[in-house]
């Protein structure tokens, strides 16, 4: 009986000790030493005579690591974020269909940003030139909206509802969008990086607030004139999501 209890205690102690051994991993070489508090992550204290490192990779909180050579901090120290920064586009091949003169064509894609505990981010957009045929022979110019008082540009959305106003542009709706997209008829042209003086990318989503699954719908719109040559018109829009600093 006593022997059995002794065995059970020994097994239990072995289990505890072995668990302790695999929960922390140390790696070292003549140049560095890494002490990890969590076997599934890269987080923890990392130090050598050359540096110290702090990061938020993995499942433990952010921290600070230092040595004589350098100090590294990772993640937002004021929030101790360990949640990754995520960016999604629901459809990267947005089909505007067959364009007919004076019959505006629209298509949508949804942009989603998740930033669990450190919320400051922005998403910018810029096009690789206007819509153009594959041989670059013909283009659909970027929209200026309805014109007159309703002339839009890369940073100001205006009403685009006239069927005789031609071009290519976009509308935004949803979370964290620019405030000038007040209605579903408000559009802007994309900035063009192929202009002789490249235009700055436009912010299409931004927030300083903590957020998960911040979603905005971007509606592409194209309207062509009766004299627009036939062809498959294409362009690429670059969406760049960056956290704040």
């Amino acid at each position: 009986m006593r022997k059995n209890i002794l065995r059970a205690v020994a097994v239990f102690l072995l289990f505890i000790l072995s668990t302790g051994i695999i929960s922390a991993v140390s790696m070292e070489s003549p140049r560095f030493q890494i002490d990890n508090a969590n076997v599934n992550s890269a987080s923890g204290n990392k130090s050598s005579s050359g540096y110290k490192l702090s990061d938020t990779i993995g499942q433990t909180a952010a921290g600070r690591f230092s040595s004589s050579g350098f100090i590294v901090r990772a993640g937002f120290q004021y929030i101790h974020s360990i949640i990754p920064f995520q960016f999604s586009i629901s459809d990267i091949n947005v089909n505007l269909g067959t364009l007919a003169p004076g019959m505006p064509s629209t298509a949508t894609t949804v942009l989603t940003v998740s930033f669990g505990s450190a919320g400051q981010y922005q998403v910018t957009a810029i096009e690789d030139g206007p819509l153009k045929t594959l041989n670059d022979a013909n283009t659909i110019d970027d929209t200026t909206c309805d014109g007159g008082a309703e002339t839009c540009d890369e940073s100001t959305a205006k009403t685009w509802s006239s069927s005789s106003a031609y071009g290519f542009g976009y509308n935004m709706s949803g979370d964290d969008i620019p405030t000038d997209f007040t209605t579903a008829s408000h559009y802007r042209p994309f900035p063009d990086r192929t202009e002789p003086t490249p235009e700055p990318a436009a912010i299409v989503m931004s927030s300083v607030n903590v957020g998960r699954d911040r979603q905005a719908t971007l509606t592409f719109k194209a309207n062509i004139s009766p004299i627009q040559p036939l062809g498959s018109y294409q362009t690429i829009v670059n969406f760049v999501a960056t956290p704040g600093f």
Binding site: G69, S88, I203, I236, T242
Partner: protein, 329 residues
């Protein structure tokens, strides 16, 4: 009967998961961790940071690059440049991956990128700001229709301070510390801000960093009322990059996205404000660093309450007189 039901079910299943699959939207969903790295390095040193890139969307080909950035505004947003400028040399320690070379990322796959940052010897003390970008390749063209294809890029910021001695150049200055009031009067050359007692009091605090290294503010904004009221609001330690200024945020009520027409604020005070209030900011930047101060005053006056009282009195007097007159008649 059973056979025809089975065929119908199979047809639906094939239509849903077979034929239709070819025309489903192509989704991109990338995540990066950590979202920001902040390193203080000596010249001649190198460090390696591990990033995790996860693909939660459809299979995708991505490539990585590092570019410089500068502050876009006073609120912590970045403006990316076309290339990496400065002395820091970047490379990947991964055996089969290089910067600016595409690699495949399957659905649900995570790729660890081991980013090596190397500083040459004799690099002058200064700050350098970069973003590690992970960019998808654009989808193939679609013949016969007009289409807009999208390319997705996700970034993680890298803030590097180069110092050979460990000393950081800290030169902060309070540029603006004030309340945003609709009512101002000037007395003896001083502008006096007046708020209704029931209104919120927005406060803005901007700090300029004239040094060559980034600084991180700490400290508090304190409120003291004429009747002994007091409250402290902790300043959030957010980076102020070299030679830039930033709106400081104090918890819990800073609001940089303050509605449609209001400017961003460092702090929004709520309460019943009556009389004179002193606001003071006491900001430090770590151990052995200079402390900077700012102060401002505002007055709370119960316009709305008084207006309501006067209105009630007026109505009461009017009704009393009216009823008295009726009684006399």
């Amino acid at each position: 009967m059973k056979k025809s039901t089975l065929i119908a079910i199979l047809t639906i299943v094939i239509a849903l998961f077979g034929v239709v699959k070819g025309v489903l939207a192509q989704q991109v969903s990338l995540s990066i961790s950590p979202p920001i790295i902040d390193a203080v390095m000596k010249p001649g040193k190198s460090i390696m940071v591990a990033y995790n890139i996860k693909n939660s969307g459809d299979p995708v080909i991505v490539n990585t690059r590092v570019v410089s950035f500068e502050p876009r505004d006073n609120f912590g947003n970045v403006r990316l440049k076309d290339k990496a400028i400065g002395p820091v040399r970047f490379s990947l320690d991964n055996a089969h991956l290089e910067l600016e070379e595409p690699f495949f990322l399957d659905t649900g796959a995570t790729q660890q990128l081991l980013l090596r940052m190397r500083l040459p010897e004799n690099v002058p003390n200064a700050d350098h700001y970069y973003s590690l970008l992970v960019q998808t390749t654009s989808p193939t063209t679609v013949e016969g229709v007009a289409s807009s294809r999208a390319r997705a890029t996700i970034g993680s910021n890298i803030l590097i301070t180069v110092t050979d001695s460990g000393v950081i150049d800290i030169k902060p200055r309070v540029t603006i510390f004030e309340t945003l009031s609709k009512f101002k009067i000037t007395l003896f050359g001083k502008s006096i801000k007046i708020f209704d007692s029931l209104d919120k009091v927005p406060v803005v605090l901007y700090i300029e960093n004239n040094g060559s290294n980034k600084i991180v503010p700490g400290g508090k904004i304190s409120l003291h009322g004429a009747f002994g009221q007091s409250a402290d609001y902790e300043i959030l330690p957010k980076n102020i990059l070299s030679n830039s200024q930033r709106l400081i945020e104090a918890t819990p009520s800073a609001d940089l996205a303050n509605g449609l027409s209001l400017p961003p604020t460092s702090l929004t005070l709520k309460g019943l404000f009556i009389g004179k209030y002193n606001l003071s900011a006491n900001i430090n930047f770590g151990e052995n660093s200079p402390t900077v101060f700012g102060s401002t005053i505002f007055f709370g006056f119960p316009f709305k309450i008084l207006g309501g009282v006067i209105f009630i009195i007026a109505v009461t007097v009017f009704l009393t007189k009216r009823f008295s007159k009726d009684d006399e008649d």
